[in-house]
């Protein structure tokens, strides 16, 4: 499994000189299998450039964790969606009140977008309930996680390697002494023992105090969650749009200096590729 980060920013894109190293595009992750099959995790603005590498494929699958703008705003600029030679499958959280098709249409339709969803050539939309399913050579486990609205995390397994993707996640919400036991920790099953965990780490500790209930983690909570889940490697993700490259470097350095980590810690940067064997 080859995993490439195309957008690691959360909430709002933040292009500029101060974010050039970590990147300013919002959440988008490319996952490739042995036969070069393509699975995309979220469609933030980073998915536009990701899509440029999809030429020649007959099928692309996009797994959306939820429909907040920073995770879907790239859909309208994702090349395969407009290519009649490509079968694009969109997967996303089910809702008790409306289909995923109806909810995506709220964005991909006027006045928010000039081209309605119904005009796209070959799109199939799948409402995902918690549980396992198969996409090509990948086994996918989806589960609801602690984030406002119905938000999924995904666990991908391929050839014995496991990737856990929880880009928007606040496992410490309401937990006075986080982390508690694993049975009572949101996202634990998805992340347990994963070779690579991509996890929300938007806030510093002091920032988190002013953002409790917003659905995101502090870096310390992400570290604690990864430790509880026993992952092999943690990639911090969903960087706050106000965090410059310098600040992210300082945060990472402090983590490495302060913590005795049982896993590798990698602050998520656009363009980084991981090979999971």
């Amino acid at each position: 499994m080859k995993v490439t980060l195309w957008g690691t920013r959360g909430s709002l894109g933040s292009a500029g000189a101060q974010t050039a190293e970590y990147g300013g595009d919002t959440s988008a992750v490319e996952v490739r299998g042995n036969d070069d099959s393509l699975l995309v995790l979220d469609a933030g603005s980073g998915v536009r450039r990701l899509g440029e590498g999809a030429a020649g494929l007959a099928r692309v699958d996009v797994l959306l964790t939820h429909l907040h703008m920073d995770h879907v705003q790239g859909l309208g600029f994702f090349g395969p969606l407009f290519d009649p030679e490509v079968e694009t499958h969109l997967w996303g959280p089910a809702s008790a009140t409306s289909t995923l098709h109806e909810r995506i249409t709220r964005y991909l339709s006027p006045p928010l977008f000039p081209i309605p969803l119904r005009d796209l050539p070959r799109v199939e939309i799948h409402d995902v309930a918690p549980g396992p399913f198969t996409v090509g050579e990948f086994t996918v486990e989806a589960d609801l996680v602690c984030h406002p609205g119905g938000t999924l995390g995904y666990r991908l397994t391929h050839d014995g390697s496991t990737l856990a993707y929880l880009p928007d996640h606040e496992p410490a919400l309401g937990v006075r002494d986080f982390p508690r036991e694993s049975a009572w920790t949101s996202g634990f099953d998805l992340a347990s023992g994963a070779d690579l965990l991509i996890h929300d780490a938007q806030y510093t500790e002091s920032e988190y105090e002013d953002h409790v209930g917003w659905g995101h983690s502090s870096m310390d909570h992400a570290i604690a969650f990864a430790r509880l889940a026993g992952v092999g490697r943690l990639v911090s993700f969903h960087h706050d749009p106000g965090h410059s490259d310098q600040m992210l470097e300082e945060l990472a350095s402090e983590i490495r200096r302060r913590e005795d980590l049982p896993f590798e810690f990698v602050p998520g940067k656009e363009g980084t590729t991981f090979h999971l064997d």
Binding site: C146, L173, A183, W184
Partner: protein, 135 residues
């Protein structure tokens, strides 16, 4: 706990966290009717701390917490609001008498409703109760 999982469903996790913050006695059962949590306000009615009791299966629950109708007459387990909520997936309300683990008999109003997750997942039930003065 759902089969094959190490973790409670997120809806139950959030429900427990919410219950831990509110002042209304609350207890939560899973789809088997096993008690998986009750909050601190409930402890004064039930007569024991949850951290001392831990989770209790449904059979043991009936043995430990003896419940009767308001007038003290027997009541079938199936009539209890929490059991209705779990088994019939609908809300229910009843005034009952409960014998706490501290030996005290208390008259309580109980409202229970099922926890239904997205995609038709039945996850358990929650009961909220409060003591009423014995007349």
């Amino acid at each position: 706990m759902p089969a094959g999982r190490a973790q409670q469903p997120i809806e139950i996790i959030l429900l427990r966290q919410w219950a831990s913050y509110i002042a209304i006695p609350t207890w939560i059962v899973d789809t088997n009717g096993d008690l998986i949590y009750y909050n601190e306000p409930a402890e004064s009615i039930l007569g024991a701390k949850f951290e001392d009791m831990g989770p209790i299966n449904s059979a043991e629950l009936a043995r430990r917490f003896v419940t009767t109708a308001e007038d003290g007459s027997p009541i079938r387990a199936e009539e209890l609001p929490i059991v209705v909520a779990v088994n019939e997936c609908r809300p229910d309300h009843l005034r009952i008498r409960i014998l706490g683990l501290d030996g005290a008999s208390r008259l309580i109003n109980v409202s229970a409703f099922p926890i239904e997750g997205q995609s038709g997942r039945h996850l358990g039930a929650v009961a909220m109760f409060w003591e009423v003065p014995d007349e």
